[in-house]
Subunit: 333 residues, 2 copies
DNA sequence: TTGTAGGCGTTATCAG
DNA sequence: CTGATAACGCCTACAA
């Protein structure tokens, strides 16, 4: 482990023939420095390759500029696009994203939040799992911003961004009805994420509302492969569903592929499918999936906006409406 | 902007009735503390919610624990999986990833590296674009580790991880020949990334080697939509290619979809296709694409390993061989 | 406008 | 094993 030798403000000051404070002031936006001093400092800094030490600055200012992103399975299309959107918005706000991988267990999310505290992150944004109240309380008490995305529980002092999953599910149900579908199913993973469960419940509730039975099948992780299995289970039932709402697009892709290739069904003629997220693949011509678009960019925007809001004790809910994107996997439209 | 009030070692020391040093030692792995002192410190820390300030620790130890990931278009499947792999390996090495989005211009990469210096990152890993020599020199001079992935230029003191793109391209060519293909094409984007160009050159070189003409078409970004356009251009030529090597999987998916749906061609009977990356979608039953797998996990492993290697002036090349994954898009296999 | 002095929360060093 | 003390690099009064 070799020594790191970054150049410090003192060296710049010496070379420029000014005091350390002059250097500091040169790099502090609102400070007063004469043009001449500034010029000499900048010149020396350039020559030496000086860059303000954000660690030390953060120590003084009590503001690190770091924002912690806590997320599991980040290579999943929807997650990846959300991370990208958030990190871009953060950069625009002169913050920088620290990325922490979790395994989706609540304990590993707790560990991640502790790490965020250790790094004196200005904020933490949780995309996966639900941290313990004692930890989130500590975050908030420490003055850290906290954003929970698509989690259902409330946390004091945090911003909770949620989608109207249930309403969307109802909308999907109605779309199926308009398409003349008669046998309805919901295809879910068995991980029990709040937003996934909300979609399931919303779809079942719509079934009750309209006096129609809804079959629910759950299996595995929320991925393509589970969609394959779900299709095999649902499409071999005595009364085969002709309308399947999938908890997300990945499941829908696996399900559609299997319906077509293994069961030789035509979508949407034999089977209507609706997904959720609007990941890029749904627009590919092999899928053309009708789905609900998560307002990824707006979620990111709201999350980052919250970081500069004055602290409140109560926390805030922010509910957004996903847009139904009509493509070719449902008749009519 | 409300004040942040994190609890400090002094407060823990006061509560536990010991000195600040004792607290520090308790949280420093190799240090010697009596069991009793340790217990009292831990108890006080727990009660107060104390967490070591990594910013201050980094200042002292001259080691921030931060590693900067510089990447553009990070929501792309291959990039996302690489980021995930790297961030997991970093976590195992008790480092933490800082994520910086660039627009792939070399200038924005330079800016990102300056940010990495400002945060005293222990290392920077560049996945996109090529930073200026003056900047990379500064990084290395400052004692920062530097890893360049899939870049072609050399940089002193850096680890450069590359794939044997040309050899892979030759292998693809031979696979096409074995499948009995007669008219060869290479489908590329027009961004000119080193690794993409290497694949193109390797494929053309193989054509020359075997005395066969190779058509090259380039268009747009390295994404699905460009694959669509490339298919339209290539498949309307007088002599229609029956073997197309795509610069990456995203292009291949767009090209395959278009070949099948718009041109009603059967893959692999009418057209053989090979891609590159082995993104998850290639294993979906709509594609079953034969492709070269990037050794994502090994790349991540090597990159992280480099961070703990003793510093050398010369830098190091690390070349890896992508594995050809046989699926259904090429006859034979 | 400028320089000086003190402190931010740590860790390393060195007596005890 | 423990506690005082001096850094680390920076910012912010305060006084000049």
């Amino acid at each position: 482990m070799s020594q790191k030798i970054f150049v410090s403000a003192k060296e710049v000051a010496d070379r420029a023939g000014v005091s350390r404070s002059a250097v500091s002031r040169t790099f502090t936006p609102g400070a007063s420095v004469s043009a001449e001093t500034r010029r000499r400092v900048l010149e020396a800094a350039e020559a030496l390759g000086y860059h303000v030490n954000h660690l030390a600055r953060g120590l003084m200012r009590n503001e690190s500029g770091l924002v912690c992103l806590i997320v599991s399975e980040m290579d999943t299309p929807y997650r990846a696009s959300l991370i990208r959107a958030i990190s871009r918005h953060l950069q625009n706000a002169s913050k920088i994203a620290m990325l922490i991988n979790t395994d989706r267990s609540d304990r590993s999310v707790d560990e991640a939040l502790k790490l965020a505290i250790s790094y004196r992150a200005d904020a933490s944004i949780v995309l996966s799992g639900m941290p313990e109240k004692s930890i989130t309380d500590l975050c908030v008490k420490s003055g850290q911003r906290l954003v929970l995305i698509n989690r259902d529980e409330e946390r004091a002092g945090a911003l909770m961004i949620n989608l109207r999953d249930q309403e969307a599910a109802r909308q999907a149900f109605i779309a199926f009805q308009r398409a003349g579908c008669r046998s309805f199913a919901f295809a879910n993973s068995d991980v029990g994420t709040p937003s996934l469960m909300a979609r399931e419940e919303g779809f079942c509730a719509a079934g009750r509302e309209f006096g129609v039975d809804v079959i629910v099948e759950r299996f595995g992780a929320t991925r393509y492969q589970s969609g394959v299995v779900l299709a095999q289970r649902l499409l071999t039932r005595e009364v085969r569903p002709d309308a399947i709402f999938c908890a997300n697009d990945l499941l829908a892709c696996g399900l559609m592929d299997t319906a077509r290739h293994q069961f030789k069904l035509a979508v949407p003629d034999d089977l209507c499918v609706v997904g959720f997220d609007d990941i890029e693949q749904t627009s590919w011509s092999s899928y053309q999936l009708t789905t609900f678009a998560q307002p990824v960019d707006r979620i990111a925007e709201e999350a980052v906006l919250w970081l500069s809001q004055p602290m409140t004790d109560s926390g805030r809910f922010c509910r957004m409406t996903p847009d139904l994107v009509w493509r070719e996997s449902v008749r009519g439209g």
